[in-house]
């Protein structure tokens, strides 16, 4: 495209908002602290108050990091039969697929239950701690693109539901022990909404971040 061709429109690009879902174009409006702006066409939230969400999401990310550490360090479930005991936590669950035929599934399990959620909470903590001090964290744009790419692959709530099903599934023939990791996963599941729906790219729009 010719870089010198004049724009096809009369808009000041600093004063318009484009919906990321339906591509609708709107004039930006000033928001009160508790207001959100919704897309009139598709209902997506276009703008929301930011200062509050940074503190709230940082709190969620820090607690998420602690819950995740517990579910990695302590068993999520245990089983015993005839004096033998087995245990499983987030990191050892992919062991089930160590057979070379299934090694791909093992890597998928590592991604969805350890790597994606772990990097997600770590990157959010890092970015938001700097944002609270009105600063742009080192690795800012790189971390934001990582966060965006990993978002759909963090599936700890699926892991939690799977654990609950396994309790019933094997409970009739072995005795099942609920580990501290299971409670930690339940805690993490409560935070998922906050972590998953936080649009980290709003950090770009904070003009005070330098």
């Amino acid at each position: 495209m010719d870089a010198t061709s004049p724009p096809k429109h009369q808009y000041d690009l600093g004063a318009v908002v484009v919906c990321r879902r339906c591509d609708g174009l709107f004039q930006a409006a000033a928001l009160e602290p508790t207001q959100n702006a919704k897309c009139p066409d598709c209902g997506e939230i276009l703008l929301r108050n930011r200062a509050a969400s940074i503190q709230f999401v940082l709190a969620a990310a820090l607690s998420g990091a602690m819950f995740l550490a517990i579910a990695i360090a302590y068993p999520v479930l245990g089983a015993s039969l005839g004096g033998l005991r087995t245990e499983v936590n987030l990191v050892t669950a992919p062991d089930a697929f160590l057979d070379t035929r299934f090694i791909v599934v093992a890597w998928v399990m590592v991604l969805i239950s350890v790597l994606a959620p772990g990097i997600q909470v770590a990157a959010l903590c890092w970015l938001l701690i700097f944002a609270l001090r009105q600063r742009r964290a080192p690795g800012f744009s790189w971390l934001l693109s990582i966060l965006r790419a990993l978002r759909p692959w963090a599936m700890l709530e699926v892991f939690l539901l799977g654990s609950l099903i396994v309790i019933v599934k094997i409970g009739s023939w072995v005795s099942v022990i609920l580990g501290p990791g299971l409670w930690a996963l339940s805690g993490f599941a409560c935070l998922v909404a906050a972590l998953r729906h936080f649009e980290a790219s709003i950090l770009w729009t904070r003009s005070d971040l330098r």
């Binding site: 990321r20 591509d23 087995t86 744009s141 699926v158």
Partner: protein, 203 residues
């Protein structure tokens, strides 16, 4: 309905959300992300390729056993559907329904939903954009719950390792099922939602 940004040559940076004029710059001037106008045909074809791959893998995922179990009740290999029937027979009707939703209803809904979205996009229709946008969000939302079966097989075969007493092991069906979930997720992500609203910009 309000104006579409694409009709005016304005594109949203997918990385940082900055608005850019495609006639002036091909890259976002804040973060360097590539600005693209929606291209209905390209997005539908890419999405269709992932979807067809997922549908093909869905056949062995259902025909092959996903887990081998030996224990008090004898030994045997279960496909996904046999696992659901077993829950049903043992009286856990709610759980059977839950697993049926996650491993049968969700993949089939995704095939149908993405199929409709891709077909309407390829036809270039402008009908019912809001319903189709809702359908897309629904498909996007339910997508990853199918991974439930993979987690159940992983946890069961990791826990039930009691030598001669009871053993559970994964079987190849789970590999294909995991593939179905990932391919249909990729299919949903490669479909550009903006095309639902601006079919006339298919180029």
């Amino acid at each position: 309905m309000s104006a579409r940004a694409a009709a005016l040559g304005i594109a949203l940076c997918p990385v940082c959300g900055q608005v850019g004029d495609i006639a002036m710059t091909a890259r976002c001037n804040r973060c360097g992300g590539v600005l693209r106008l929606p291209n209905a045909r390209a997005s539908a074809e890419r999405s269709l390729a992932w979807l067809l791959a997922g549908i093909i893998l869905y056949v062995p995922a259902n025909l092959l056993p996903v887990m081998y179990v030996s224990g008090i009740g004898g030994e045997g290999e279960d496909t996904i559907f046999e696992g659901i029937v077993e829950f049903w027979r043992s009286g856990s009707i709610g759980l059977a329904a839950l697993i049926f939703c996650a491993s049968v209803a969700v993949p089939l809904t995704k095939f149908a939903g993405l199929g409709i979205l891709i077909a309407t996009s390829l036809c270039g229709t402008a009908a019912a954009p809001l319903s189709r946008a809702r359908l897309y969000r629904f498909v996007e939302f339910i997508g990853y719950w199918s991974m439930l079966d993979v987690v159940v097989v992983a946890l069961t075969s990791r826990l039930v390792r009691f030598g001669g007493f009871a053993v559970a092991e994964p079987r190849p069906g789970i590999l294909f099922f995991c593939g179905v979930v990932i391919l249909t997720m990729l299919s949903a992500f490669s479909f550009d939602e903006r095309c639902i609203w601006a079919p006339e910009h298919a180029s």
